[in-house]
């Protein structure tokens, strides 16, 4: 057996992941030594690890801006601008996930060190997902993303809703995984490989196996569709989002979705360019249905977490529209730039909105109705202002990242219309449903400012920090989106 050659392993390329993985194991041991009343030390230690990964990512940004993409472990993973951009999103989301839990867990009597360890593990899964270059890596990374999230959803174990959310999420997640695995099996049967680039070659060279591969790809889409909560695979979302502890909901509404989209784009764009018009049409149809259902059902919701769950379904639809636009290779890099930009804008806005929901939530898990926001405009003017900004951004109103994201998504779709006229119809649906979404987003603002109420909210320093940072980020993306979008567009996989 020959000795490993360091260049082909390329450990430096996966350094951020290694830092978090190693730190999670260290944290596990430290957590044993930390007394029960001092569990916030574990949180701060987890933050140290995440910041370490953030520093490593910072250095990689410069490195990869110069060099482009780089394969590691002999092509098993690919590190490029796309994966680094998304890894930044994941690490930021994880940092927010820790900060949101800092006060929430003790307030709700569910403080345990394992929360932070599991959070780090699922973050690793997301990061590896964004650089997977082989279906086997997609599969194990997806599981590493999902399994800790099942547990975290049930973290408030004494609450019936939390347990129920965990079991539902688990059963449907396992169901989705088996679709993914069977899809991979058929793809392997059709092409003889699970390497994404190998699949792309096989699909173009050997037409005989195409039906098997196409059905395999379809099943893969089902599996990933569950993760990103696309219609008709969305039914777990409202119950899980509502039942899970709110910091977990915030974390997974962004992280799990972005992870799913990372894998979706990698698989579709890298492995199946030869049948791009087929998956493009399929994704466009799903996008249209997802936008319609998410936005329309969200109108009738009275619970803020449930409303944000349907909102997250709706936003998956807009992102899918950009994914569908990536079918034309000429504007693939613009479309994928739009996807990652939208994901970043959505991450900031949504994390901010959930931060407000956490501040309003009471210690027994109640206080998650939209009516509980009444009076906040008077008692907490700054927080209400930030929430108003987030709601406007989710609707797609000016000076917010949400608007710019939507504009990029629609622009990408319109560019691809010559290849697929169906996209024009879906863009129209997208614009119309954005208008519809104003009903339920603006309702929150109305309740905060117009309705009399107690307006009670607990806003410790950690939440204030997150709120300020996410509001600032949303504004920056809305006012000067140029630099970030250029980075997002250059991010593209070759």
């Amino acid at each position: 057996m020959q000795l490993p050659i360091l260049e082909s392993i390329n450990l430096m390329a996966v350094l951020p992941v290694l830092i978090i993985a190693g730190w999670a194991c260290v944290l596990l041991v430290f957590d044993l030594l930390i007394p029960r009343s001092r569990k916030h030390w574990t949180a701060w230690l987890a933050l140290v690890g995440l910041l370490g990964a953030a520093v490593a990512l910072f250095f990689q940004i410069g490195h990869f801006a110069r060099l482009g993409s780089e394969a590691a472990f002999d092509g098993m993973v690919t590190v490029d601008g796309f994966s680094i951009f998304l890894q930044v999103v994941f690490v930021l989301t994880a940092i927010v996930g820790v900060l949101l839990a800092l006060d929430y867990l003790p307030r709700h009597g569910i403080e345990r060190g394992e929360y932070y360890v599991l959070l780090l593990f699922t973050t690793i899964g997301m990061m590896i997902m964004s650089m997977a270059a082989d279906l086997i890596v997609v599969f194990v990374a997806l599981e590493l993303l999902s399994i800790p999230l099942y547990i975290l959803s049930g973290f408030a174990g004494m609450r019936e809703t939390s347990e129920e959310a965990a079991l539902k999420y688990f059963l449907l997640g396992a169901f989705a995984s088996s679709f993914l695995v069977y899809g991979i099996a058929l793809t392997y049967g059709g092409t003889g490989t699970t390497r994404l680039t190998g699949i792309a070659q096989a699909v173009t060279s050997d037409a005989l196996n195409l039906p098997l591969t196409t059905v395999g790809m379809g099943l893969l889409l089902v599996g990933l569709g569950f993760k990103v909560a696309a219609v008709p695979f969305h039914m777990w979302t409202p119950d899980v989002y509502q039942g899970a502890p709110t910091p977990v909901t915030a974390f997974m509404s962004v992280g799990a979705k972005a992870g799913g989209f990372a894998a979706l784009i990698r698989v579709l764009v890298t492995a199946f360019p030869a049948i791009a018009s087929e998956w493009g049409t399929l994704i466009a149809v799903i996008a249209g249905l997802t936008m319609l259902l998410g936005n329309i059902v969200a109108i009738s919701q009275s619970n803020i977490k449930r409303m944000l769950a349907y909102s997250s379904i709706a936003h998956a639809g807009y992102i899918l529209l950009a994914v569908a636009a990536a079918q034309r290779s000429e504007n693939a890099s613009f479309a994928i730039g739009a996807v990652v930009f939208y994901l970043l804008a959505y991450a900031l806005t949504n994390l901010g909105a959930f931060t407000v929901a956490i501040a309003v939530e009471r210690d027994d898990g109640t206080g998650t109705e939209i009516d509980d926001f009444a009076g906040l405009g008077k008692t907490r003017p700054w927080m209400a202002l930030a929430m108003a900004l987030f709601m406007l951004s989710l609707t797609g109103m000016p000076i917010s990242g949400g608007l710019v994201g939507k504009v990029f998504v629609f622009q990408a779709a319109l560019q691809a219309v010559p290849g697929d006229p169906l996209l024009l119809a879906v863009v129209i649906i997208g614009v119309l449903t954005s208008v519809v979404s104003a009903f339920y987003y603006l309702k929150v603002i109305m309740v905060m400012y117009m309705r009399e109420g107690e307006g009670k909210a607990v806003l410790p320093l950690a939440l204030k920090t997150v709120l300020a940072a996410t509001a600032f980020g949303t504004l920056v993306l809305g006012i000067i989106p140029g630099p970030v979008f250029q980075m997002a567009q250059r991010a593209m996989l070759k």
Partner: protein, 107 residues
């Protein structure tokens, strides 16, 4: 090791069998109400994928398909550990694991 001439069942028969197994598992998931039964049906689906992998690996004479089976088995073990823990936990508070009775949240 078997002789080539004796290998008279073409791999595609195994793939067809795996397809039937997958659909049976899917029917089980969609039809049953008991969480443990749903979980067992998911295991059937994973097994069908494994069967397809080994059959394809056999016809390609490729070891990669078999490696994949290895990982699927690992994941199945992980799912069983976490899933059954959740099922037992929910049974302890509810005395029921019928998924049709899990509707404390409505909207």
């Amino acid at each position: 090791m078997l002789d080539q001439a004796n290998f008279l069942v073409p791999p595609i028969y195994y793939v067809a069998l795996s397809g039937i197994l997958f659909i049976l598992g899917m029917v089980g998931v969609l039809l049953r109400r008991n969480a443990i039964l749903i979980f067992m049906s998911v295991e059937l689906m994973l097994n069908s994928a494994n069967l397809a992998f080994v059959a394809f690996a056999r016809s390609f004479l490729d070891v990669n398909g078999q490696v994949f089976v290895f990982f699927v088995m690992t994941v199945a073990a992980v799912e069983v550990a976490v899933g059954l823990a959740l099922i037992v936990a929910i049974f302890r508070t509810r005395r029921s694991i019928d998924i049709d009775e899990l509707h404390s949240m409505e909207g």
